[in-house]
């Protein structure tokens, strides 16, 4: 009877913990049993695991503020979704459709937002992440389709959930591919809209992508030795980094106050790309992106 009680107690604790009770119970681990080299390596990896790439939604918002206009013809065709049979293509295109979804939603194109939501959800299901992006999410988006702010919040929350779900299930490489796909699509959209509506602000936003690209390459570098798909993507990003190498990246880090808000930096000229750099970056980005969507 005592054993049965102990067993039920343990099972109940596990189920409650897995359900994410509120507030969550924290683990208490015994140091002795875990202090081996594997554990040390895991802890070291955990300490260095944070790689943060600006979200496709922030990129789309920056493009809008820079004067970009919406062009649905540059986005990945929704009909392509069934062509992606390998997990790596599915992950890359989950990121690409996610970026397209953000772009369409930021520019308030509800009809296309719902189409790209369906594509992203299709890929999420095939990648077995429907637990984070299922029909319930699509229904929520449908119910809020005319409330732009709510729609943007649901999209952000959904992609955050997908990323968390992948990472907590040890599928960080799939997450990395999704993030890379989203970043490449964001750069592709930026270069394409700049062709149609070339402004100094858009050139600045393209030039600034040099910084997150460096972080993305670092992220990919943590997988490249044992994952051919990630290694291939890292090669593409390295090629883009070569083209970005000649783009100046100004830094300035003094802190001043402006109406009670801290302002970091200032005084340095904004980054930009010249015609030659823009042409080379546009062509390479299109080539890389076409390799992912076809």
């Amino acid at each position: 009877m005592r054993t049965r009680g102990w067993t039920f107690g343990l099972l109940a604790s596990l189920i409650l913990a897995a359900c994410g009770g509120d507030p969550p119970t924290q683990d208490t681990l015994k140091t002795d049993g875990l202090a081996d080299s594997t554990q040390d390596a895991r802890v070291r990896k955990t300490k260095n695991i944070f790689h943060n790439i600006p979200s496709p939604m922030e990129t789309a918002g920056l493009l809008k503020k820079a004067g970009a206009e919406y062009d649905k013809d540059i986005l990945n065709d929704v009909k392509n979704v069934d062509n992606y049979t390998s997990a790596s293509k599915q992950a890359l295109n989950l990121g690409i459709y996610g970026a397209d979804l953000s772009y369409a939603s930021v520019f308030n194109n509800t009809q296309e937002s719902m189409l790209y939501t369906a594509c992203a959800q299709n890929l999420a299901k095939r990648l077995d992440v429907a637990g984070a992006f299922g029909q319930e999410t699509v229904d929520r988006m449908e119910a809020n389709r005319n409330d732009r702010d709510s729609l943007l919040n649901i999209i952000s929350e959904t992609y955050w959930d997908v990323d968390a779900y992948l990472k907590e299930n040890g599928r960080d490489n799939v997450s990395a591919l999704m993030i890379a796909g989203g970043w490449v699509e964001g750069l592709y959209i930026a270069t394409m809209v700049c062709k149609q509506h070339d402004t100094p602000e858009l050139r600045q936003r393209i030039a600034e992508q040099r910084i997150p690209l460096g972080e993305l390459i670092e992220l990919m570098g943590t997988y490249s030795t044992d994952d051919p798909a990630v290694a291939g993507v890292k090669g593409d990003l390295d090629a883009l980094a070569t083209l970005f190498a000649s783009v100046a990246a100004p830094t300035a880090s003094n802190v001043t106050q402006e109406n009670g808000t801290a302002v970091i930096g200032g005084g340095a000229p904004p980054a930009t790309v010249n015609d030659e750099q823009l042409k080379a970056l546009s062509e390479k980005t299109m080539s890389v992106r076409n390799g992912y969507i076809n």
Partner: protein, 145 residues
């Protein structure tokens, strides 16, 4: 029955990392995300279980003209977690425990640049038992749309 106990105990141990990670997602979502409003938070999940004495770092890109909220959300079991925002030269731009402890920092950047967040989880109090408490630490970046 003894074998059953061992089997269940092994299953429980094997499930711990996943359960702990799921708790971290739940913790950040339920306890931290609401404090980011009205900022839209970045879609990258940056959270992990950290132990006393551990450190964590993340490089973040901030774009000129944007308004940001940076928040480090740590489980209270870890105590007062100190974090700093550093520029490319290592100069501290903000420290959470410098004056009144602040969980978040609202700011703008005038020049697009990469900044580093450094997190220090305090050491556990001396004289404790041989157990260590592991708690979730989430790094949230929000931007004003």
């Amino acid at each position: 029955m003894k074998h059953l106990r061992s089997l269940i105990a092994l299953t429980a141990l094997a499930a711990l990392p996943v359960v702990a990670s799921a708790q971290c997602r739940s913790f950040v979502k339920n306890k931290c995300a609401a404090s980011m409003l009205p900022y839209k938070f970045n879609e990258t999940f940056n959270a992990a279980q950290l132990a006393p004495g551990e450190e964590a770092e993340v490089d973040l890109t901030f774009f000129s003209g944007q308004e940001y909220r940076l928040m480090i959300c740590a489980h209270p079991i870890l105590g007062e977690v100190n974090w700093k925002l550093l520029d490319g030269t290592g100069q501290t731009l903000f420290e959470s425990m410098a004056n009144d402890p602040k969980p978040n920092f609202d700011f703008k950047v005038a020049t697009t640049q990469q900044l580093k967040v450094h997190i220090d989880v305090p050491q556990a109090a001396k004289g404790g038992n041989e157990m260590i408490n592991v708690g979730c630490v989430g790094i949230l970046v929000g931007f004003m749309e």
